[in-house]
Symmetry: C2
Subunit: 355 residues, 2 copies
Amino acid sequence: VSAGDPREIGSAISVEQTIEFPHELAPTWIQREVVGQITDVTESEVEICYNPDVVGGEFIQFLNVLWGNVSLFPGVRIIDLSLPQSWLRTLRGPRFGIRGLRERLGVPHRPLLCTALKPMGLDPTALGAAGAQLARAGFDIIKDDHGLANQPWAPWRERVEIVSEAIAAAAAEAGTHSIYLPSVNVPIDRLEAAAFEAKELGAGGLLVLPGLVGFDAMRSLAENDALALPLMAHPSFLGSHVMNPDQGISHGIVFGTLMRLAGADISIFPNYGGRFSFTQAECREISAACTAPLGGLAGIWPSPGGGMTLTRLDEIMNFYGPDVALLIGGDLHRGSLDLNAEQMVTKVESFPPTP
Amino acid sequence: VSAGDPREIGSAISVEQTIEFPHELAPTWIQREVVGQITDVTESEVEICYNPDVVGGEFIQFLNVLWGNVSLFPGVRIIDLSLPQSWLRTLRGPRFGIRGLRERLGVPHRPLLCTALKPMGLDPTALGAAGAQLARAGFDIIKDDHGLANQPWAPWRERVEIVSEAIAAAAAEAGTHSIYLPSVNVPIDRLEAAAFEAKELGAGGLLVLPGLVGFDAMRSLAENDALALPLMAHPSFLGSHVMNPDQGISHGIVFGTLMRLAGADISIFPNYGGRFSFTQAECREISAACTAPLGGLAGIWPSPGGGMTLTRLDEIMNFYGPDVALLIGGDLHRGSLDLNAEQMVTKVESFPPTP
């Protein structure tokens, strides 16, 4: 809380996020059991505890209690979140997480190698050809650039079909295990169908944009046992929640905790020192939230991206350690894609260095 | 743009929102036709023009181009938006809007009278009884409080059924035309089904939370010809986009333009001088965006709420004029609900004063 008295603001929040009603007019039992309760106050912080019944067993209402109307309060930022085990047990969470994806991809120790197909404007055959090069080089995950949707240059279904085939053929030929993750940033009424269509066409996972389709839509994909694909979450549209130091939600909660609760296996965010402005401390916070204890939910992969370069690989791996999904896109195309990809794979495969 | 040189930042944005790729490495035709083009720069503003093909005919991708990765740029705020008529013609937009809702409710001239059922914690019968009182008094729209979801005190289906019946019976008896708008802040996999279920149970419209279900989900409800219910949009979770004066999206675009594009008929936002911090200028901007020319899309109802009081009614009506959906909740419960409701209806029915 950066504006006003924390106890007063906390009191307003605890009412706003529950009964939205003059507190003194509510029946006593509602004041006690439904309204949030202030459990701690310091000079600038306030801790509010909510009855889990306020969430009513639905993830989307959890988001509403967390940041619904209070998103419209000036000077309020959520910096910590503690969730009851009983509620966490009701969530499916990440289906694969760090361990599951290591098993699925046959990568027991090193960081994951991820990249994106770009630039927008290329046709499916050209995107497939680039995908094939990256698959031959041994990239683990080759995803659609997050801006690829249903543009005339590479319509969604045609792209998914051609790129899936190209990557699968190249991986089989080269003996690698690359998977393709098409973006399911599709009209929401087509989301589930598109996810299954992608799977049938050979996708090995999905790129999801929870800022646009909603965190709850990602949750629904993650919980779908018939789909059962790894999900990589992209931060598009979510920046507003974290970019104001005085207001919003902490980086760790948005890109770590919420992503895990909503079932992402990998969470992409802008790395420090790239095209964006996240600090080392913010990236560390995200990375920590990806693996911190959270009921029985699996730890997930932090995936720093956003203008990463080959020359920074060592530094990034040392910063995050081996449980990181390295995301390098455009920089691979400076010079020879084949040589760059090979160089990156070699470097990452030798990490962590044997002692 | 509040940090750095507008042309440089604009150039970064135009690449970021399209190809996300080193500009100089992209084929010339992609640089020209796919990347956004800077069309104007001033000391602190930059205008970028995108090829409509980048949106690929899908509303969700329009949001991605508007505010996807750039949401992670510091110091960038979207303050104006100009959309091609050809693209606007592809959108359904608000099904009712100001004119349609006036016809449907039989309210040709005056502001609409809206209120919310609260507090959370009441059972469906108690909520229904309050709804009946408000319907007898002549409120046009009686909505669920936005925090009502599927809590044990008033589970969703039971609440919608009992409250619909109570309001319909009271309205029939009193000869008013009140409609009930239950909240469809439900798990996204149940959204469409819940909308139809609500309609079957007697709902006269729906309360939608686009910050949580997504703007595109609201669009899908608005476009559904079999559903064809008025939609009232609530600002929950959307505050982050507007609360930072240096970063984000303007109030008018979020609560006016985007709401209309996504098919809301009524857009709720916190009024100036209530529990929240919007200024008069920001509220005026929202109100203007609700009715400004936007292709052939219907103008929609600004619905200022958030701690409105009966004593401020005249001032609010003078500020917004007759095309406003007045939203008063908790304050009606100070003293006698019946008397307060009657007083409010009388006051609003005599507006605008006959000259």
